[in-house]
């Protein structure tokens, strides 16, 4: 059915110029609120039975326009709960929430700032998305006949050539083999429980999950010091449900929230300014000696 505004038939996609000429309208198939009537969420009427009760199911529907079965939704929830919900205030994004709490800021400010902070280079959203993209790219290349060893060697070499490090320095970037290697420690305690749960759900045998594990083995065969962290397993299990790396990025944006929130609450309930306070002497100044400003 064609849609019209006045006599103008709507095209599927407008150019920038056409969109600017229709400045009073926003054309969408995502949703619309009809006051006092209903809310349309993509193609669904949210206020008509059977009511959607699972938030994760609605979130995935909002991202992908697809509906998932009970086992899949359980898997998506497990990816969040077992992998990224650490109420550990030393982790950098969570620490922002703790600092907001100790500063007696608001919960929404602390949680949203910590969520934005989660889009980091050495952990969080940037390597998660890069890892899912890498699995997708390698999967395609393997189907075209490339060898895994060559693909990984190429990535390691390219990463060395750019001289952009992930951990420090100017213009830092995500590691060449994202998801393999973890700041601070080597063994990732999250892998076994998440794979166990995926096994229980009979969702652990997909191509991308197997590829993630194969890459880990291949790196070991190449005498690499890199070892798999949870990101490739999260990404593999997700991609195996017929979803894309971009879907995975959107899915992961809020995945730290269950860890962030209690960090805020913990700190806000303590006296103000007491979260790891720093004494004046613990500023390790390495700058120029004292000098006088020009008058």
């Amino acid at each position: 059915m064609a849609l019209f505004i006045g006599s103008q038939q709507l095209k599927n996609k407008f150019s920038i110029k056409e969109q600017l000429n229709n400045e009073c309208y926003w054309f969408t198939n995502i949703g619309k609120w009809e006051p006092s009537q209903h809310i349309i969420y993509r193609k669904r009427n949210l206020h008509k039975p059977p009511y959607e009760t699972s938030w994760m199911s609605l979130l995935l529907y909002g991202i992908t326009a697809k509906q998932f079965n009970h086992r899949q939704i359980k898997l998506f929830e497990a990816i969040w709960t077992l992998s990224t919900s650490y109420p550990e205030p030393r982790i950098w994004n969570n620490r922002v929430a703790s600092l907001a709490g100790t500063a007696k800021s608001t919960g929404a400010l602390g949680v949203s700032a910590a969520t934005a902070t989660s889009e980091a280079i050495i952990y969080g959203l940037q390597p998660l998305y890069a890892c899912a993209s890498m699995l997708t790219d390698i999967h395609i290349a393997l189907h075209k006949g490339s060898l895994l060893r060559d693909l990984l060697s190429e990535r390691i070499l390219k990463s060395k050539q750019t001289k952009r490090r992930s951990g420090s320095g100017k213009n830092r970037s995500v590691a060449g083999i994202p998801g393999y290697g973890r700041p601070l420690i080597k063994k990732d305690e999250r892998i076994t429980p998440l794979l166990d749960l995926a096994h229980e759900l009979k969702l652990d045998k997909g191509e991308y999950t197997r590829l993630a594990i194969r890459i880990d083995q291949q790196l070991r065969d190449m005498d690499s010091t890199l070892s798999m962290n949870i990101a490739p397993i999260m990404a593999g299990l997700f991609l195996d449900q017929g979803l894309t790396s971009k879907d995975f990025y959107y899915f992961c944006i809020l995945c730290f929230s269950a860890g962030i929130m209690p960090c805020f609450i913990d700190a806000v309930e303590q006296p103000q300014g007491t979260f790891f306070p720093i004494q004046c002497k613990n500023i390790n100044y390495q700058g120029v000696p004292h000098r006088k400003w020009k008058k």
Binding site: L3, W26, Q279, K281, V288
Partner: protein
């Protein structure tokens, strides 16, 4: 439990603790200058910003250019995407920080935002005043496989017009009348050629990027400063809308055209 203090390493800030309280500073030095007994009253806001980022005071000429840039950036106006975000905070009665965080999030983008400045300054670092290098670089540098979405516009050029906007011309004129900057002189000389190559007009953001480079700020510094220096307008407009209230603010009651013809029952 063994007590182990940790330290913050910095070459910017130094504190000497008061004798009676280890958490209270007796003296503070910034890049070697005593903040409260030497800098205050003697340093201007933009000189202090420059000092914080570069570690050295700006020259008189750099101070004048930076001042001009800071004023040009301070308020992008209420049609600007980042200011509109801040006003949404204001009009609904959100917290002050939410308004500024909204301005930052929206003003961070690759279209008119901090990431566009980052790309432009990176371009200057790579191409300098070399036209063949620029023509190579000005092919759209799309950021695939990063968290930054695909963007079709060319950094520094206005994707909706081929005619250079009056404010861009005025800014370039001000700069060439008052200062002798190699970067800006080159940009003025090659503007027509660049615009012809790209197919669009040079934008204000394009000139701002050139100015950050002329002031020796690298791409990361320029991105941060661009985000920071545009906040005053966002804050002022947000407060104005907070006081005016939601009834005078756009809502587009008939503005959503839902394309999907069928609703699942």
């Amino acid at each position: 439990m063994k007590k182990k203090s940790e330290t913050i390493t910095t070459s910017i800030w130094q504190e000497v603790a008061s004798a009676d309280n280890p958490f209270v500073a007796q003296r503070v030095h910034v890049h070697g200058y005593d903040l409260f007994s030497d800098l205050l009253g003697n340093i201007s806001w933009v000189e202090y910003l420059y000092l914080l980022f570069k570690g050295e005071p700006p020259s008189i000429e750099q101070t004048k250019i930076f001042e001009l840039l800071a004023v040009a950036l301070a308020n992008p106006g209420p049609r600007d995407l980042s200011v509109r975000a801040a006003m949404n905070g204001g009009v609904g009665g959100s917290t002050a920080a939410a308004s500024l965080m909204s301005a930052l999030a929206v003003g961070a983008g690759q279209h008119l935002g901090g990431r566009e400045i980052f790309a432009i300054v990176l371009g200057w670092e790579k191409c300098g005043c070399n036209m063949p290098l620029w023509t190579q670089w000005l092919k759209n540098d799309s950021s695939d496989n990063t968290v930054w979405p695909k963007n079709d516009s060319i950094p520094g050029f206005d994707p909706i017009t081929k005619q250079c906007a009056p404010p861009v011309k005025q800014l370039l004129e001000q700069l060439s009348n008052r200062h002798n900057l190699a970067t800006i002189n080159w940009l003025i000389q090659h503007q027509a050629q660049l615009e012809q190559h790209v197919g669009y007009a040079l934008s204000l953001v394009g000139v701002f990027g050139a100015l950050f480079h002329a002031l020796n700020f690298d791409a990361e510094e320029a991105e941060m400063l661009y985000l920071l220096l545009r906040l005053p307008g966002a804050a002022a407009h947000s407060l104005e809308q907070k006081r005016l209230g939601w009834k005078t603010y756009p809502f587009w009651p008939d503005g959503i055209i839902y394309r999907e013809p069928t609703i699942e029952e």
